[in-house]
Symmetry: C3
């Protein structure tokens, strides 16, 4: 390959790496925005450390588990390991690894991906998990589960040999994260006050601006997540992927807005955000295989699915504060199957292979996550005390408030639910 | 063109597309920061859906209205349409359309531009417009008005033939959006409490950090808005445009800070933000035609203009919550005229052509926006009820608060306006 | 050089410029998040104007002081000046200045760097400095001190001739800014209430989400700060620098989290943020000279150092609201020395040269900053009145609140320190 093309490929991949990095800010903002302010420091703390933990464990272990050197298309390998740590391959850093960019770019791009898996779990178990316990889980999940499953497809393992298609990780990243989240929720239980008898209470997030900021950062980050997954700067392929990705996001947001409007008569902003993310997750498996109409349809369907998924999980009393299961697990599965339904690879045979991939990755991700969480529960404990949960994790784990607003002109919302003619506020203060 | 150069052009245009996308986060942050917290969800909702609506309508209609295939420089065409939907031109996605990047990149870059037009309107009509009504207006304005006007210059229509110069859209984007905003404000009227008798009340925004975040995102986004408008990665042209753009932003912010300081004796942060944006809008029409001194002067003048424009619009009782008219309409016009006053194209003849372009685009944009808003007003209604406006749009349209701050250590500002010796607070709580 | 390679180099440098620009948003967010809400507008105001002031003064003066045209490696020059303003060199804008990108890109990239110096000072002197006085200092420091010191190394002056190594500015940017901060703090004194008798009070920041947002923006920005300091898009060199930079940031965050955990039993989020920044500052001088293990070690050490530095400065009653001294001064010095300890240039001779560079730049930066602040103190005054400081700088300097939260559901933290059985809150309201 010509030096100039190699250089521009590498520049595009470095930019994509930066964009995937910024998704971690997106997750931090979205998850803290959609949870309560008494747990904000805690949510932020996890999301701030995860990229660091992800990069270091990936450097030590994950990268060489995920790319163990299987020969493409010739094997049915399930597991391989090419040794601890980062070592330059023969030929050095500009050895045209992956036919297009340097060894270092490859590591950093993949390392940023790895950490997103743990971040997806983070939101789902928020507001009640012990910090230490979550951190131990994260390390195990990012260092072991994610790269081994990833090697099955992207490391040229058995799923790749079978013809499984997951362009940028609807399954390998999003549903894997989603399965981890489900395992965590099942072992943790719901937050105090979420379900009372037959009643499902809404526990509102604390800051819509943060949630919106996070969603925009994630959409932007997806330019690198999907655009970088072309693994070169090929003009046709990269730009096509960006268009399909953005059309799906657009359609997802609009579909979710209309779906929730017809269901509840309110324009629910949180659902629009989930719809955008649902569209993004849905297109991720096949962003390189879809046409314009396919992408819009995948986005629309994802946007509808995500709204009902949120309602169904609530009915099942699976308490997911940020909708991570609906977005990443459900739409991750849908997006993977969509490769067999829409676009260039559509066909019953492909659909069956997609289903097999979803099932195999799902069973492994859920099984290992359940095991990790279970052992942690039995040893370190998984959940904070009721007192800590009620008062907020920020005080107990961090000894601080996330917000200290002085001199702000605060006009309190008058309390509306009166009880014996005395407002709640009056009872507290009078 | 050599493959490597084509690839790097395309990379630069994709990056620029991402940067223009992030301007939508900028507008969302700026507009919600400068309005009241009781309407924050509403403002964010609009700004979150607009990019999606923009992209989908542009794919269906706008792109082919804006680039209808006029032959450059040979016609005086006003209207053309090359058919519904996105279809790859002959030669496919890497057909070197626009001599430098792919068909997909072109669509996505232009689509991100299109949506900014509606976003400019959004802030100006905030805090009192019905959500549905605004959404219908947005679709019409982005799908029809913006691309038709755009075709006159960028689609090689009659204004281009005459020699009108608008490098990146001081007129075609910013003043067009500004005229739409003016039409909306005139039909909506001012917010309740803004003008009482002869008094002009300040209705303060609710979060300066959000406003600052938005302004920085917009400045960054302008790297793509102007830098991408070179339509290639040409090193000299792109980097020169970035320098001129940033110098104008810098000068605009400083000029506005000093102007408001000398006028009111206070360092008004909102005015500095408006000054930066004014400088950016002002340089946009001629960023490729100006030298260093020209750019600084255009920035300085824009920064002064914007401060007085804000004061004048208030005197005229034209209630623009975020200063969109002063920034986008007034400085958009100034910037377009500046092409005839400063830089490589300066001259009386050019100035007259610039004036003609401003007038033609203005009349069309204002006229069509007024028509759309008027029909909407007579059919769906345009303005929320007084009760909804006073209680806030978040409750009525969205059924939620934008903020829920628990466990925040809030030290309330003591209420200063006493009434019979009893503070407002005491009356509420005692 | 081939045109395609020149173009891609220039694209990478423009992207890096945008990333360094976004560091200013990072500083604005971090510094306002870590200080009190009554001073938020003030902090934001400074950080919003600094990039503008930086660019304009750099265009007028700084660029030509920093790159005065010393001949590389042949002289022991301390001072030079190539004239006022920006003038295209012979050969024009694409004259392959710096063997890789345009004159304009060079100016803008370096100009964005220059302004960061003042931003570092801004946080350290926050909450008590007069706005005008700070602005005058900024102009002097950015226009004179920073570029002259910079010329010693990057402008091929005497430190470069001696073999001093500071890849992207651990000393030339970060410690220089840190020395300026120290001079300011010493002449200003501590904030009211920070130190009472033997007691060191914690003055908590007002918004952890803002602080986290700022830190992520800074990490992202460092992709351009260090990645762009390669001064080309060379695939091996740029990608290697990004990996080393990110590993150091990761290690810094984790080291700081563990260090503060073992010290105080609390997971202090602010310290994690400082740890990440410490790792970034620490790797900056030698990001192109380090291997994987070196980078992780430098990050770990920086993350430990920064925690103890914060504690030591507090013991010394040097009141630095945002930890700027610990991050930028202390870790800037450590990072510079690390070039003589770790990586390709390690050796006693190099270490001595590094020490000389640290001392020379430090003495000059501190001396000039002290002089500027001293003269300002004697003429304009440096510190706001006690009344202004207590009520907040936002009211007095800006006449506004940073936040106005209406309709927010605020549940106040019940006051825990009772006094005669009556809570503080009851006394205020009853």
């Amino acid at each position: 390959m010509e030096q100039a093309v190699f250089t521009v490929n590498n520049v595009w991949m470095m930019i994509s790496t930066g964009l995937v990095f910024i998704m971690h800010l997106g997750f931090a903002s979205l998850e803290s925005g959609l949870t309560r302010s008494k747990n904000t420091t805690n949510v932020l703390f996890k999301n701030t450390l995860i990229p660091g933990i992800g990069l270091l464990t990936y450097a030590l272990l994950g990268f060489n588990l995920m790319y163990p050197g299987f020969a493409a298309g010739t094997s049915m390998d399930f597991f391989g390991f090419s040794g601890f740590g980062l070592t330059l391959p023969e030929g050095g850093e500009t050895n045209k690894y992956n036919v297009g960019y340097t060894y270092w770019t490859d590591f950093l791009f993949q390392g940023m991906f790895a950490a997103t898996c743990a971040t997806i779990v983070s939101g789902a178990v928020a507001e009640r998990i012990k910090l230490n316990s979550f951190m131990v889980f994260s390390i195990l999940f990012v260092a072991v589960t994610y790269p081994i499953i990833g090697s099955w497809k992207w490391g040229y393992g058995w799923l790749n040999t079978l013809g499984f298609w997951d362009f940028a990780g609807s399954t390998l990243v999003h549903s894997v994260g989603g399965w981890g989240a489900l395992a965590g929720i099942l072992l943790l239980g719901a937050r105090i006050g979420k379900y009372e008898g037959k009643k499902i209470n809404v526990i509102a997030g604390h800051s819509m601006p943060l949630a919106v900021l996070g969603t925009f950062m994630l959409w932007l980050g997806w330019f690198g997540f999907n655009g970088g997954s072309v693994l070169s700067a090929d003009p046709g392929a990269t730009s096509r992927v960006l268009v399909m990705t953005s059309l799906a996001a657009a359609a997802g947001g609009i579909a979710a807005a209309l779906t929730i409007m017809f269901t509840t008569k309110k324009y629910d902003l949180g659902m629009v955000l989930n719809g955008i993310l649902a569209g993004l997750v849905g297109i991720t498996a096949g962003a390189d295989q879809m046409g314009v109409l396919d992408s819009v349809l995948i986005g629309l369907i994802s946007g509808v699915i995500v709204v009902f998924a949120v309602l169904v999980f609530d009915k099942l009393r699976i308490d997911d504060p940020v909708g991570a299961l609906s977005v990443h697990l459900v739409c991750g599965i849908f997006g993977t199957l969509a490769v067999g339904i829409f676009g260039a690879k559509a066909g019953m045979n492909q659909l069956m292979i997609q289903l097999l991939g979803v099932a195999a990755c799902g069973a492994t991700a859920f099984g290992s996550a359940f095991l990790f969480f279970f052992v942690i529960k039995k040893t370190m404990g998984l959940r904070v005390t009721a007192e800590e949960e009620i008062e907020g994790l920020d005080h107990h784990e961090h000894g601080m408030n996330a917000y200290n607003l002085q001199n702000a002109e605060v006009v309190e919302k008058k309390v509306k639910t009166h009880d014996n003619g005395v407002s709640k506020e009056e009872k507290v203060l009078a």
